[in-house]
């Protein structure tokens, strides 16, 4: 089980093509049954042909995924972190969900320097997780976790 951080992400980050701060760019999490990405991938790849969860073959999954909410950047002496609220496909948001997914891709929907849907990271769930008429939740880790604190966040920059 391994997440994929695309080679392009570091460069995009240093080129100010991402803004994870509150009120910054809009990030989405798309779900996949199979992983279409490699480290060389640069942008979001959608559609069932790329392994994305099929909206027609599931309940309450929309092509392209859901917008991630409550994004926030925090920084301490050594570690800067990004966090999002847990992503939930379920009764309180989209209605009860019925689908399975094994991978997720976070991407930036904003067009920056002429490119939209820049890929941030591909998440490996370690196998297919399935919801049947219930909530499908992707839980992001506590942004203060890890040692030093913050290195357990979903995305962190460690100056140590």
């Amino acid at each position: 089980m391994a997440n994929i951080v695309p080679y392009s992400f570091g460069g995009a980050l240093l080129s100010a093509q991402h803004d994870f701060a509150t009120g910054g760019h809009t990030y989405k999490l798309a779900l996949y049954t199979t992983n279409p990405y490699t480290e060389s991938s640069t942008v979001f790849a959608g559609g069932t042909g790329n392994g994305e969860v099929d909206p027609a073959g599931s309940t309450n999954y929309v092509a392209g995924g859901n917008v991630l909410t409550s994004q926030a950047v925090a920084s301490s002496t050594l570690v800067a972190t990004v966090d999002f609220a847990n992503a939930v496909w379920g009764a309180a948001t989209t209605g009860a969900a019925t689908f399975g997914a094994a991978f997720g891709a976070i991407y930036n929907t904003n067009t920056v320097d002429g490119t939209a849907d820049r890929l941030v990271v591909v998440l490996d769930f370690g196998g297919t997780k399935t919801a049947t008429a219930g909530d499908f939740t992707v839980a992001f880790p506590d942004p203060t976790s890890g040692s030093p604190a913050g290195t357990g966040a979903i995305i962190s920059l460690n100056a140590n």
């Binding site: 089980m1 997440n3 951080v5 570091g10 980050l13 049954t33 009860a96 969900a97 019925t98 689908f99 399975g100 997914a101 997720g104 990271v121 998440l123 490996d124 769930f125 370690g126 297919t128 997780k129 399935t130 919801a131 049947t132 008429a133 219930g134 909530d135 499908f136 939740t137 992707v138 839980a139 992001f140 880790p141 976790s145 890890g146 290195t151 357990g152 966040a153 979903i154 995305i155 962190s156 920059l157 460690n158």
Partner: protein
Amino acid sequence: MALVINDRVKETSTSTGTSQTTWTLAGAAMGFQTFNAGVGSGNTTYYCIFNQGTSQWEVGLGTLSTSTNLQRTTILDNSDNNTSAIDFAAGTKDVFCTLPASKAVYLDSTGALVPDLGYASKGFATAMAIAL
């Protein structure tokens, strides 16, 4: 009266016809236990009757009314592809405890419940940290 499904319950029988009230069990097959031992008199169970050397078979919900009589209470499937009692011809039958496919609940290759009984289940995935 409980529904009891048990392993290695198998007897022979020479009963014939379509009677759903009288079906005499003639004793356990070698290495198996009787319905009376494995299911218990007064209980129900899923059964299969197969007429040896023929194409006749029947799967149903049975009631063990006595230690040696299995009532064919509800026919679920049979070799005529309907839910009527088979008119079993003469010959030795195998009668055994089974789990009918129509009553099975299982997970498919994606982990989804089959059949969809309308019960809710949650999917929960953990996003692993990325340190740059």
